[in-house]
Amino acid sequence: MYQLALSRMREFYREPEAVFWVFGFPIVLAFALGLAFRNTGPGKLQVGVAGGPGDSALAATLGASPRLIATVLDSASARLRLRTGRIALLVIPGDPVVYRYDSTRTESGLARLEVDDVLQRARGRNDLVAVRDDRVVAPGSRYIDFLIPGLLGMNLLGSGIWGVGFSVVQARQRKLLKRYMATPMRRSHYLLSFILSRLVFLIVEVVALVGFGWLLFGVAVRGSFAALAGITVLGSFAFAGLGLLVASRAKTIEGVSGLMNLVMLPMWILSGTFFSYSRFPDAMIPFVKALPLTALNDALRAVMIDGAAVTTLGTPLAIVVAWGAVSFVIALKIFRWR
């Protein structure tokens, strides 16, 4: 089994493309997304002032606010910019002053509050309650903090299913499985060797991604590293089992690729990798939570962001283990050895 696992690892690291997709790609993705969603605070809001009497004075008043950029626009270009989202809100001077904006856009709502506040104060409104701003930047609440555990989960899913599924079907296609069957090799050793080699790669994957997040974006692991290691091992086991199941019957690479995408795509979208799954309708949530990637992502986030103890993560971890064990047993039963 050790020799089988060793062969598996050699075949893998001698395939530069595979190495990139497993190790390089998630890091590139984390880097790009981390840059795109870095915490620069809310940017300045673009607002338009419709042409009319007193327009430039109004624009100057609004422009004085540090959070607004105000431009005077004729009605045609104002309509266009509002529709395409290049301005968040259009102020039409007059009595009353009219705010035109799309109330479903978060930015527009913010712009309305800010514009109204500036205008009212300029006309001499007095604040009745004394307030003071206390600004904090909480690490762990940034998008990158949310993203890194999700990417880790996605990476474990991808490398488990690709790494196992692909090599099994390739061996079957090349009649190598049949050749192994002609030796006294134990069948369970063959399948377990995949899990063993996955565990070795797991260490590299986790260290690479978590180390990258920590070095570049200061994403810390608040919980214990032992808990993180334990969870990733369980996740990796579950996905290797799933990979074996996906590959248990397929005879061609094309066939198994379709199956792998069928398994992975829904989880990429549903399991809260890039955005929280709480955005899905309530009726879907129990289903989404039963997916192995959701459970794994939840557990990873709980440990990395909230510093939760493993003992509080019974439910998600049980889901992960159940997926792995059931897949492995079914795979062993229905596996096509020739």
Binding site: Y2, Q3, L4, L6, S7, R10, E11, R14, E15, R174, K175, L176, K178, R179, Y180, M181, A182, T183, P184, M185, R186, R338
Partner: protein, 278 residues
């Protein structure tokens, strides 16, 4: 096991190897029958198997592949020993993908030999190889045999069967149609030479065939699209008689060859088809 492509050689050998379930009948290998679990593995310990279409992992080196295969067995040759057996020592560090067809085939045989088998199954080990690679493989098989091993090999080259095998089973359409030593099979023709000839006129009158059959020393006459084929006992008597007969009839030869009878002629005699045509 000699037979044309599609005769059922691979199916037969894979049933013997316990890789394919037979529809009916019994298989006994080294006094044992195929069973799942430990007894089956114990039997596999004693066999060496090379399959026709296996492609070994491209990215591994020769010695890594052998290291993997030897890890499946309780007792085995060391990687060095088995590399010496198949003369691949200088390719030890080469990746499988860089090997030539003949070297790949020798590596496949090495994977079968690594377990020190008592019985070696080779399924068309030389198909598609150049003559030099083929002779190298023959040498490996001969050495294994000389050391007391038993080999079952399938082939569609009658030359290979004649040179390597103690016993030959000729197979066609899923049935063994003849078996024995190469000598016995050839002797079953009742003659040891074959004369092939063709006439310029094309075609052959039926009465000529009848006359040939009556000729001294001729044991069989077959006509085909390419001409006439005679199986003869005494070439030195039959050939002058044939030439005299043709001269007397005033027909010209466009082709005349003679050869010692081979397994190919046995196959033709049994099936009416040539082994190499199929």
């Amino acid at each position: 096991m000699l037979g044309p492509n599609g005769a059922g050689k691979t199916t037969t050998i894979e049933i013997l190897e316990g890789l394919t379930q037979p529809d009916s009948g019994d298989v006994e290998i080294l006094g044992m029958r195929w069973q799942d679990g430990a007894p089956g593995r114990a039997l596999r310990e004693r066999l060496g198997i090379q399959l026709q279409e296996t492609q070994l992992a491209d990215k591994l080196t020769v010695s890594e592949v052998l290291g993997l295969f030897r890890s499946f067995y309780r007792q085995s040759h060391s990687v060095d020993e088995v590399l010496a057996l198949v003369e691949l020592e200088e390719k030890r560090k080469a990746r499988v993908v860089t090997l030539s067809g003949g070297q790949k085939q020798r590596l496949a045989v090495a994977c079968a030999l690594v377990s020190k088998p008592e019985l070696l199954f080779l399924d068309e080990p030389t198909t598609g190889l150049d003559p030099q690679s083929r002779r190298q493989l023959w040498e490996i098989i001969r050495r294994f045999r000389a050391d007391g091993g038993t080999v079952l090999l399938t082939t569609h080259y009658m030359e290979e069967a004649e040179r390597l095998c103690d016993r030959v089973a000729i197979m066609d359409h899923g049935k063994i149609i003849a078996q024995g030593t190469p000598k016995e099979l050839i002797a079953s023709l009742g003659a040891d030479h074959v004369v092939d000839f063709a006439l310029t006129e094309g075609g052959t009158a039926d009465d000529l065939v009848e006359v040939l059959r009556q000729m001294g020393g001729v044991s069989a006459v077959r006509t085909g699209p390419d001409g006439v084929s005679l199986t003869v006992v005494e070439l030195h008597r039959a050939l002058p008689a044939l030439l005299a007969l043709l001269k007397a009839r005033g027909v010209e030869l466009s082709l005349l060859t003679t050869h010692h009878a081979t397994l190919d002629d046995v196959f033709v005699a049994l099936t009416g088809r040539q082994l190499r045509d199929t």
